[in-house]
Symmetry: C2
Subunit: 221 residues, 2 copies
DNA sequence: CGATTCTCGATTGTCGACAATCGATTCCAG
DNA sequence: CTGGAATCGATTGTCGACAATCGAGAATCG
């Protein structure tokens, strides 16, 4: 029985990742290795390794001899995240549409049904979870390990942005209608349509977030 | 004057990366932290951090409490690398085709001309360099920092595969004619055509490499 | 008063020591 | 001879100590 076989480094990285993604650590916030090592109850070398992992995932930034800080959010950041996601998910959707069988179809339907239930839910967190789960499901089903690796880091960033806009602008988008075209194209086994559907979805989400972001900027200015 | 401001960790990572990419460390080869720390003349913690970086770039693999080893090559590995590259370069080509101006046009032409000179060269290394440079140029010109980051790691893997087939099967492909469609589509400011051209190029390269790989397998079996 | 240099506290960069873990080998009971 | 437990060497996992570096403010000079 291997249950708790994560190294200290992995656990520390997971902890920090969660704190950033859930907004408990704010964008731009400064992080010092000693503080973290006391707070996480682990050595400084361990904290350092965890921070390096998060740096590779592009969640935090390092300034040599000066410190670490949580990445800042900007319009450009939003644009980069969503366009990159579009490229990766586009590949995933194409691959899934080619190889779809009964098992895959069942998983996609399950993810989509969860999305529909979440639609009526008042719980903003569940809406976000269901949405992210849908996208991650498609990527996993592509059977492409390198793609899944790259997507993992990116999806954390997306989760971060999602939770952040869900806080400021609850329940904006219409989950069901926004995702249905993707499901239909994949189940129709049409790779090009699936790629286009998921990329259109990404562009629409980006436009939405950019609008909210501008509004928020305006308010705080 | 900042010349040599790389940390030991970065230097060690660069050194190991180069050794892997140039084939001085063979696929599957086992790496121990102590050996490396003696060979590189640096502490074990430093070596460890460098190895973590290369792990994030997917060049090496770690087995907990057991060791590190250079990643192995397989058909699946080839397929994943080239398809992922297609997705990333596709996005880059699309972005460049949209924003192309005189400066960008000049850089693309320069990269393409280098490719044409390398064509006649007998130096396999220069052929590889020119080829990689062409692809990296397009990605850089896209003005997309996250994309460039992700592509960097992937391009090391591609370089590795390139040098490896160049060793076994020198001067196979026709550099000029394989890349011209990409240049033409971008300079014609046609995003979709540019994306398709660079993805077709990737698929053709993949097919080529897979054929060579199977041949090599057959010989050594 | 302004600009430059110096000093100092804080933080990261680097390192080797010690503990935890693994895998192969040895040893022993049956 | 065989199966399994104990042992041992090798390697990674974790940690805190010390050195290098940076940024801000004090001190100095024109």
């Amino acid at each position: 029985m291997k249950i708790d076989k994560l190294s200290f480094v992995d656990r520390a990285a997971a902890q920090l990742r969660s704190e950033i993604v859930h907004g408990r650590l704010l964008p731009g916030e400064r992080l010092t290795e000693i503080d973290l090592s006391e707070r996480l109850g682990t050595g400084r070398g361990t904290v350092r390794a965890a921070l390096s992992i998060l740096e590779a995932e592009d969640l935090i930034v390092r300034q040599p001899y000066s410190g670490w800080s949580v990445r800042d959010v900007s319009e450009k950041e939003l644009w980069e995240t969503y366009t990159l996601r579009g490229a990766l998910e586009g590949l995933a959707a194409r691959l899934v549409a080619i190889t779809v069988d009964e098992a895959i179809e069942a998983k996609i339907n399950a993810a989509f049904e969860r999305l529909q239930s979440a639609e009526s839910s008042k719980d903003g967190g569940e809406r976000v979870d269901a949405d992210l789960n849908f996208h991650r499901t498609i990527v996993d089903l592509a059977g492409h390990a390198s793609l899944a690796r790259q997507y993992f880091g990116l999806s954390n960033k997306v989760e971060w942005l999602y939770r952040w806009s869900e806080t400021h602008w609850p329940s904006r988008i219409d989950l069901t209608s926004w995702h249905r075209p993707i499901v239909e194209a994949i189940l129709a086994r049409d790779p090009l349509a699936a790629e286009k559907a998921i990329q259109d979805h990404g562009e629409a989400s980006l436009a939405d977030d950019l609008r909210d972001f501008a509004e928020l900027r305006r308010q705080s200015a």
